[in-house]
């Protein structure tokens, strides 16, 4: 049986915690553990190789949000921090991966309500005819609310060579929402260093509204090797001891060649090695065991054109 009647609204906003007295002491370590930040930061450290400046900045942001939360419990009101970010770096340096983690981290810290990531490019924001851009951009912004909007290759929004390009309209709407609805979404722009610099110099409003410019450095050979190992581990492969040397040599050679895309190139190399591995097993007539099925041999990499002076 249900009884009908007026029920007072139980609003989340009304459930405010009792303010702490002025002489109270708060254990920040316990606060961290309660928020579950350590899981995300720990996973970030374990899964992402290198990227020291990025990790430092993320730790700082996490600390700021945590301190803000504790301050609020004492009744010290702070404006919401501006967390719009710009990731710059070469291809394959982990910008998208970090953005996904960022969404989860900001959600755990209570900065965004849902913690989903909406990843878009110019095509999703800019329309094809007059009056098409604004609804399209607003649509994307609405979808991203409560989470993180990740704009890949953001520099392409502004095309200096075409003054009638609709990208400017999308930028204006973005700016408006970034400024007025800071509590509803966080915008992360990503792109190559030089092009993003050009983008910001032609859109000073955008540059000044982004507080965190984070540069993603290119990986060293040792880091790429570590990344490759993690990828192989994730897919259930191992390198035979003599393959390790060949793999290292491969990465060293590939770095010098054009169109090198850091971790993405390593992934592609592994994909091709898997193809050769499978081809070799099927071509051979003898039965295979688990070791043969999971171990990549030197010839799987040696066959690559990289070793014969060509790309890929």
């Amino acid at each position: 049986m249900t009884t009908f009647g007026m029920r007072p609204p139980t609003l989340e906003q009304e459930v405010t915690r009792e303010l702490l007295p002025h002489d109270a002491v708060v254990d920040l370590g316990r606060e961290r553990a309660e928020a579950g930040i350590e899981d995300v930061l720990g996973a970030l450290d374990a899964d992402l190789v290198g990227l020291a400046p990025v990790k430092t900045r993320i730790r700082e942001i996490a600390a700021l949000l945590l301190v803000d939360r504790v301050r609020a419990r004492f009744g010290v009101e702070t404006g919401r921090p501006n967390l719009h970010m710009c990731f710059t770096g070469g291809p394959g340096t982990g910008k998208t991966t970090v953005a996904t983690r960022m969404a989860e981290l900001l959600h755990r810290l209570g900065h965004v309500r849902k913690g989903h990531l909406v990843s878009v490019t110019r095509d999703d924001l800019v329309g094809q005819y007059v009056g098409h851009t604004a609804p399209k951009t607003r649509e994307v912004l609405k979808r991203a609310m409560g989470g993180v909007l990740f704009i890949d290759e953001a520099y392409s929004l502004y095309r200096a060579e075409n003054e009638r390009d609709y990208g400017v309209e999308a930028i204006e709407i973005l700016l408006q929402v970034m400024e007025n609805q800071r509590e509803d979404l966080v915008v992360i722009l990503a792109g190559y260093r030089d092009r993003m610099d050009a983008f910001f110099s032609s859109n000073p409003g955008m540059g000044s509204r982004i507080a965190h410019h984070i540069a993603f450095p290119d990986y060293s050979t040792a880091e790429l090797e570590e990344i490759g190992r993690l990828m192989l581990q994730g897919e259930g492969y191992t390198l035979a001891p003599e393959t390790e040397e060949v793999f290292r040599e491969y990465i060293g050679l590939r770095r010098e060649q054009p169109r090198f895309a850091n971790a993405r190139s390593v992934r592609n190399a592994i994909e091709r090695a898997r193809l050769r591995h499978a081809g070799r097993l099927v071509a051979g007539s003898e039965p295979v065991d688990l070791v043969a099925l999971t171990t990549l041999l030197p010839e799987d990499f040696r066959a690559s054109r990289v070793f014969h002076g060509g790309a890929t």
């Binding site: 007026m6 609204p9 609003l11 906003q13 309500r113 849902k114 989903h116 609804p135 607003r138 912004l141 609405k142 979808r143 609310m145 409560g146 989470g147 609805q181 509803d184 979404l185």
Partner: protein, 138 residues
């Protein structure tokens, strides 16, 4: 006369915080929300004007509230309602619909009697506001 249509219409008007909670409930159930407005709130007028397209793939009520406030700005004295559609097989219908804005002054309806054959009387409702042209009613 206060018009009562849809869910919650006998309750006091919902505040924005309460509307947000209702939208959150709809989104939790995967019901896309849409916003409709009219200045002809006759009970038999089912088809109100659509404010943009229904909003699919939203995760957070802030997006719906953004559009709602846009609509309020454009039509400050129209009726506006929020509709949540349940697209599941077997239901495929409006799951939740409630008024989120009403004009400050609602003159109400006049009862019109029409005498027809054999002393039969037919009744019909006529909104006082509907005498004025569309857009100037409230």
């Amino acid at each position: 006369m206060r018009i009562t249509q849809g869910t919650f219409s006998y309750l006091p008007d919902l505040s924005d915080a309460e509307i947000t909670l209702q939208i959150a409930y709809a989104l939790e159930n995967d019901w896309p929300c849409s916003i409709e407005y009219t200045d002809d709130p006759h009970p038999r007028n089912d088809y109100w004007e659509m404010w943009g397209l229904p909003m699919f793939d939203l995760k957070d009520p802030a997006g719906v509230l953004l559009e709602l406030n846009e609509c309020r700005k454009t039509f400050p004295s129209h009726y506006i309602r929020l509709t949540a559609y349940d697209a599941r097989y077997g239901r495929q219908t409006t799951a939740l619909s409630f008024i989120v804005q009403r004009p400050a002054k609602e003159p109400g309806f006049r009862l019109t009697r029409e005498e027809s054959a054999d002393r039969q009387v037919r009744y019909t409702l006529h909104a006082y506001a509907a005498d004025r042209p569309e857009g100037e009613r409230y």
